[in-house]
């Protein structure tokens, strides 16, 4: 496996290649897409991107956890967690691309 790490810069570069915008504007658009998705999730919404996947927020109830090192009981407060469910297309492409 290659094991490279891509960042916002690579996404901006992809946008830059796709449309004739400046690198700066491409970067701003990438940032805005991430912001719009984040804001929607923070408001409790679901973000469903067809042929990519679905981001959703789940509510976790309070429970008693344990510090694995000390064995001490610690309360875990109710919280909201983000889950991502990849689309079939993404799963298939990732599986096919990484097959030896």
């Amino acid at each position: 496996m290659a094991g490279k790490t891509l960042t916002r810069m690579d996404l901006s570069e992809a946008v830059f290649r796709e449309v004739g915008l400046s690198r700066n504007e491409s970067a701003q658009l990438v940032e805005r897409v991430l912001e719009l998705m984040s804001d929607n999730l923070v408001e409790g919404g679901q973000v469903k991107i067809s042929s990519f996947g679905t981001f959703s927020v789940r509510n976790k109830t309070a429970r008693v956890g344990r510090n694995p090192k000390t064995g001490e009981e610690v309360p875990i407060l109710p919280r909201r967690v983000l889950t991502f469910r990849p689309s079939h297309l993404m799963k298939d492409r990732v599986a096919a691309g990484n097959r030896r």
């Binding site: 490279k4 690579d10 996404l11 897409v33 991430l34 973000v47 067809s50 996947g53 927020v57």
Partner: protein
């Protein structure tokens, strides 16, 4: 929010861009992420989260209907972990 709503919102905010270009921009972003993972790469978007590929080892599975053993090959699956900033925002810390 679905893909088309994201595109509409972005197009409204950028009246100097054609809607079809905004569509291409949004598609290019998601396509780049999938392509990266298909190559075994990771995509790290600070504050938002990271997309990575996890390897699932080969195993002996079972057909739940017949109870018959079947060999399940090793495979790679997409994985997403939310970033700290987004996790914190979901829980009301910071704006």
């Amino acid at each position: 929010m679905i893909r088309s709503e994201l595109i509409t919102k972005l197009a409204e905010e950028n009246p100097h861009l054609y809607q079809r270009d905004v569509e291409r921009i949004v598609n290019a972003i998601f396509e780049e992420i999938i392509e990266a993972m298909a190559k075994g790469n990771r995509v790290e978007l600070r504050g938002f989260g990271a997309f990575s590929v996890k390897k699932r080892d080969a195993r002996v599975g079972r057909n739940p209907r017949t109870g018959e053993s079947v060999a399940v090959e090793e495979k790679h699956v997409p994985f997403f972990k939310a970033g700290k900033l987004l996790r914190d925002r979901l829980n009301g810390h910071d704006g």
